[in-house]
């Protein structure tokens, strides 16, 4: 990441994962992120892992918002983040996942597992997305330093 622009609008990728065909959550997130001052690349519903990874590698976004509401978010997210983090250009790009991540409500062990696997933040279903995403965006440095990942993650090749 060498993007050190501080005045130009940064890009954020909004996406679902392979098994989820819902749209309205993604439309809402796009509008919300545009209001926070970002350009948004919205990949839409049913995005296969490979496509998500290649589009993120091309867009070099400030961060990635993964939304899942069909109850498979936990399972799909664990699979996705491994592939995502192993891409040499995506090891340090912040990724947040949120929505209805399992079929049976909230689960703190699930959120911990997703964070351990490489997500930077996990928003469970009763989180207010507007507040949570604004806080998340504000917590990020304007240009993400390449060394901010924990050492346990695979090094960029």
């Amino acid at each position: 990441m060498t993007d050190v622009r501080t005045t130009a609008r940064q890009t954020v990728v909004v996406t679902s994962m392979a098994s989820d065909s819902h749209t309205w959550n993604l439309v809402f997130l796009q509008l919300l992120l545009e209001e926070l001052g970002y350009d948004v690349v919205n990949l839409g519903p049913c995005v296969p892992d490979d496509l998500l990874v290649s589009r993120c590698a091309a867009a070099r976004p400030a961060f990635v918002v993964v939304s899942s509401v069909n109850g498979h978010g936990h399972q799909d997210g664990l699979r996705l983040i491994g592939t995502f983090r192993s891409h040499p250009d995506l090891a340090t790009i912040p990724v947040v996942i949120g929505g209805k991540l399992g079929v049976a409500g909230q689960d703190s062990a699930r959120a911990w597992e997703l964070r351990s696997a490489g997500f930077d933040e996990v928003f469970e279903e009763d989180t207010d997305p507007a507040t949570a995403l604004a806080a998340f965006a504000a917590s990020l440095p304007r240009a993400v330093a390449p060394d901010r990942r924990p050492a346990t993650l695979p090094a960029a090749r």
């Binding site: 749209t23 309205w24 809402f28 509008l31 919300l32 839409g44 519903p45 296969p48």
Partner: protein, 419 residues
Amino acid sequence: MSDPQQTAGFGAYVRAEAEAGRLVVQPRMGFGDPATMRAGLAATRAAAARTVGTITVDAHTRVGHLAAVESALRDGVALNGYPLVTHPVATTAEVLAGIHGPDFPVQVRHGSADPLGIFRAMLAVGLGATEGGPVSYCLPYGRTPLVESVDNWARGCELLTRLRDQGLEPHLETFGGCMLGQLCPPGQLVAISVLEALFFAQHGIRSISVSYAQQTHPGQDREALAALRRLCRELLPVSDWHIVVYAYMGLYPQTHDGAYRLLGQAAELAVDGGAQRLIVKTAAESQRIPSIEVNVRALEYAAWAARRPQLPPAGATADPEVYEEASALVGAVLDLDPDVGRALLLAFRKGYLDIPYCLHPDNRGRTRSYIDADGRLRWESTGGLPLTALPRPRRRRFGSADLLADLSYVRRKFDGSER
């Protein structure tokens, strides 16, 4: 609307009931377990209403992931619908035996952009009625390229016509009147429903129904049904067709009272608007897959609401706005190519059809819509749609909070205490 060549089938049944002045009501229902599926069909048939049956297939079958169906069946994991392609023909024949027939036709509902496997399974058990369409089962639900969906649906229609060898007239319903469930202005819903019907007819289907989903304003919905009927009369080259209304498909009221009032209004819309069939929604819909009993209650309530003395139409319903918009869209699309499938592909490429908020790569995404102060759906921007009437954008910019408010407009209205 009589056709001397008609044979037993879904369309003939619905039209016969309509001629007797009865609205046919239908559930959305699908269970993975054959015994439960049979019980659901039997309960639908026995309900105190004129009904047709529904077999909704599961989500894995819909996208062709048959290995996932097999492992779910093996491991006893519940499926969210009936795995029509995987269960043996003999099993499905037992599900239908003594229930499905000319006096109780059953429709297969699936949501697939590649329905050939499902259609083959239908042929094997003598089921002749299904629904969908090259646009409506492609753009809202995934990433299958529209060109592939058009090709799949063309071959699917032609496959269904082989049912005539079994003495059964295949029946296809357009899902185009329901695009994305909510927030698509009615002119475009009507246009896509009509265009999908013309596509079916061009590929050999002679018994067709055209859908329209209840939206946000009863008066505008009546105008939409009038427009749909007029365009079908003008354009459909078949005599066996009818209109099906879907009870509201967006965020549903969460109160029992609100959910039933909304369903009652859908039944009134169907009757006033001259529809012959109604697909019901249940009060449980917003939380979970409804049980058989809940479905039967919704069917009986809708049939009762359809028989209530109707109020005289509020104000003039002759406002031609929806008709003019739908007619302009259909005309512009049909002018692109004599082949309806190719015309649909060109139309989406040019933005002559453009579904607001739909994120599919083949949708231009330059249109936006909103609910005005009267509760009518309006265009915020029409992008490349070939419409001469200017959109009426609201004064301030449309943001995420406005979208949430519009998405939950009907829920708020029916859950609230007013009226």
